[in-house]
């Protein structure tokens, strides 16, 4: 990983653990009466959202504001993009206004990679979800949630997820969350099993570092965490499965199925949930379900990523060096932020 965050596959184990550890420090800020650090003061970050995503945008915005960055929100609806402006022109226009980082959500797989590599702009690029490709901060916040719950908040520091058995269930074919999670969880030493009807598993999955099963019931007892993916109702119109009911019966998580999981195992969901489809209300509202926690953790993870990518411990006027890697940058404890700012 260099100065951009495009894919979870670009992160080394040490990069990922550093981000998780940094996020734990960031989480402490949320416990303070004043939830703000001066770290990115004077830095401008644009949230460039070509696809509707209220929760991801708000999560990034909260993270940026807690780090005192100046935030510009750009959504494609009603903008020049809807009048036919290209991604390149939009990006260059925003950069001309002096942005240090671009957080991009785009419906086309690879759009953030293009933005980072085609020479259109110089700013750091953070992928907030591209098509059916990647959503690396989601994978990081999921790993963060798993580490806290399965290893421990303090015990987890410096640790990865070695040996943890993670089951991801649902529409893998159309899911950037699944792709990012398989990459990152493998890097962190976890054993991943994907469970889906064969129609929702991509051709070519055989090279992924995970197992694939079509049988949820036999996988549940061997899971430390079960991540349910959203399944859009429209999929049945394209014959991916016959009916909603049949999908729920075969691949949905209800109370009865949850009981087959080991006692310590957690239920996760990236949201938004389709209650009654992949998950019942009983499961979604249970103690074992971490959905709300994941949202809170998302802010900490995004703070950590922004901090590490934008070099929060460097003078605000300096541009991050393109050759600086995450792992080479040591995290400054939260208490030092204040010191830096007061200097």
């Amino acid at each position: 990983m260099q100065r951009h965050l495009i894919s979870a596959a670009d992160l080394t184990r040490d990069d990922a653990v550093l981000i998780l550890d940094t996020a734990e420090e960031m989480a402490r800020v949320a416990d303070r009466p004043i939830k703000k650090l001066p770290t990115l003061r004077g830095r401008t970050i644009v949230n460039l959202f070509f696809e509707d995503s209220t929760r991801t945008r708000i999560s990034f915005e909260a993270a940026e504001k807690r780090l005192s960055a100046d935030v510009i929100n750009f959504s494609a609806k009603g903008s020049s993009v809807s009048k036919g402006e290209s991604l390149k022109d939009t990006a260059q226009t925003l950069e001309a206004m002096g942005v240090d980082a671009v957080v991009i959500r785009h419906g086309a797989s690879g759009a953030p990679y293009r933005l980072a590599t085609s020479g259109w702009i110089d700013a750091a690029v953070i992928n907030a979800g591209d098509g059916t490709h990647q959503h690396p901060t989601q994978a990081l916040l999921d790993a963060f949630t798993m580490r806290r719950r399965l290893v421990g908040r303090d015990a987890g520091l410096g640790q990865d997820l070695a040996g943890k058995r993670i089951t991801i269930v649902g529409d893998v074919l159309h899911s950037r969350v699944a792709r990012s999670n398989v990459d990152l969880l493998h890097t962190l030493g976890a054993e991943v099993t994907l469970v889906a009807p064969p129609t929702l598993v991509p051709v070519g999955v055989e090279t992924w570092p995970c197992e694939v099963s079509y049988d949820l019931d036999s996988t549940l007892p061997k899971s430390d965490a079960v991540m349910m993916l959203r399944v859009q109702r429209e999929r049945m119109n394209a014959a991916f499965f016959p009916t909603e009911r049949e999908y729920s019966r075969r691949y949905g998580l209800d109370g009865e199925r949850m009981a087959k999981m080991p006692e310590h195992a957690i239920v996760m969901h990236p949201g938004p949930m389709v209650r009654g489809m992949e998950i019942t209300a009983e499961v979604a509202d249970s103690e074992r379900c971490t959905v709300v926690e994941q949202v809170a953790n998302g802010v900490s993870i995004r703070m950590a990523v922004l901090y590490l990518l934008l070099g929060g411990n460097e003078p605000a006027v300096a541009h991050p060096s393109p050759t600086t890697t995450l792992a080479s940058r040591r995290f400054a404890p939260a208490s030092e932020f204040r010191t830096n700012e007061e200097k």
Partner: protein, 428 residues
């Protein structure tokens, strides 16, 4: 009449010989021919081939003159050693009437850089529903014999059957763009290991192979001949091989890019690699090369598809499909087929000139390099190596996947019926 003596050229890669052009025809081929009264071109061991013939070119005129015109496209053709190109029908308006094909034909004649033989649409507006007036296009001044909805598949089995039958009356051939439309909805690249990782919609090999299988069986049933455009998979090769072994009248083409590039390049998300059919796997590339060598695939056709810069300078999903190819085709074939020992230069002449001229019935093209034949010739410096610089292209578009890539071979001279269209690598 003007005379030109090409001195010391390896005709079809053989021993150096002299070739004397007198007017529009080859007057004499031999050793130590007299240069009297002739302009002399010192070939110095370069390879002399019959002028290349491209059965699959998009010239974009009328309608998309921002990407290519008949003039710029035929200049690109001459630059690449071509003396005849077949212009695909997916223009605006579509070449589905005698009026449009005659316009394209006449523009080619006027510019004079290479012969332009229009291809007529199979169905009105390429919509796949109603046969276009195939007979009228054949009887027009353009004399169309090849029909194709290229860009779209004639997916309706009945329409395809009728088209195959109908053109028998005047010896025509239907060239099929084999792509099952339902299996390729939202398709962005080859479906496989790379598409799974990149999260790009898959274009499965079976979408091509199933249509080819259907069409060779239809051709057998109605006793017609069918031509398969830009065959791209190992499975398609097997089907065509089987069909030929049964005596079915099928011919097939492969593009230079499918002989060289694979879907691994899509990992860059650079739309310069976006093309239809998509780049496939290493295994497919090798199957295609072997099939071209053993004759299962009859010809190389460029599928030269110019697009303006903005249609490629964007995210992958928004980009247009296609690559320019006329000016790099021979180099790619040298790299993949000649320098690998799969084909000699006589074989290249066969796959890039003789056979395409036969399939398209391009009179006067693809002829032997011997006395009395039309002087449609291409001189190639096969020792040359250089990196591809799109800035030097004669095409109006620059969407080449080879920018900066080192490729062998360079066309230095092209003659169209004795008239030089390219001299020392410069268009006349």
């Amino acid at each position: 009449m003007s005379k030109i003596l090409i001195r010391g050229a390896k005709v079809l890669g053989g021993e150096p010989q002299d070739v004397l052009i007198d007017g529009e025809t080859i007057a004499e081929v031999g050793v130590g021919l007299s240069a009297e009264g002739a302009e002399v071109v010192e070939a110095g061991g370069k390879v002399l081939l019959p002028g290349l013939v491209d059965l699959h070119t998009h010239l974009r005129e009328p309608g998309r003159e921002d990407s290519e015109t008949v003039l710029t496209g035929t200049r690109a053709a001459a630059s690449g050693g071509y003396t005849a190109v077949f212009a695909m029908a997916n223009t605006f308006p579509v070449a589905d009437t005698a009026g449009v094909v005659e316009q394209v034909y006449r523009l080619g004649q006027e510019h004079g850089y290479c012969d332009v033989q229009p291809i007529g649409a199979v169905t009105v507006g390429l919509e796949g529903r109603k046969l276009a007036e195939l007979g009228a296009m054949h009887e027009s001044a353009a004399g169309v014999t090849v029909f194709s909805d290229d860009g779209k598949c004639v997916d309706d089995a009945v329409i395809m059957r009728r088209a195959l039958e109908y053109v028998k009356a005047f010896g025509g051939v239907v060239a099929q763009h084999a792509q099952e439309p339902r299996l390729t909805e939202g398709a962005q690249m080859n479906e496989g290991v790379v598409s799974a990782e990149l999260g790009l919609g898959g274009w499965p090999a079976v979408a091509e192979e199933s249509v080819i299988a259907r069409d060779v069986l239809l051709a057998e049933h109605v006793g017609s001949r069918v031509h398969i455009c830009h065959l791209s998979t190992a499975g398609s090769v097997e089907i065509v091989r089987w069909a030929k072994s049964r005596g079915i009248q099928v011919t097939a083409e492969v593009t230079p890019h499918h002989l060289l590039l694979t879907d691994e390049l899509v990992r860059t998300y650079n739309p310069v690699y976006k093309v239809n059919p998509p780049l496939r796997t290493e295994r497919d590339v090798h199957a295609l090369r072997e099939a071209l060598a053993d004759g299962t695939i009859d010809i190389v056709a460029t599928d030269h598809a110019p697009h303006p810069h903005e249609d490629k300078d964007c995210e992958w999903a928004a980009a247009a499909m296609g690559m320019v190819g006329l000016e790099t085709a021979l180099s790619v074939v040298q790299e993949t087929m000649v320098d690998t020992g799969l084909l000699d230069w006589a074989g290249v002449a066969d796959r890039m000139s003789v056979k395409p001229a036969q399939i398209g019935q391009a009179t006067g093209h693809g002829r032997p390099v011997s006395a009395g034949e039309p002087a449609n010739l291409t001189l190639v410096d096969t020792e040359y190596r250089g990196s591809v610089d799109p800035a030097g292209f004669a095409s109006r578009s620059r969407n080449t996947p080879y920018e900066g890539r080192e490729l062998p071979g360079r066309v230095t001279h092209t003659w169209l019926r004795g008239k030089a269209t390219l001299v020392d690598g410069k268009l006349t």
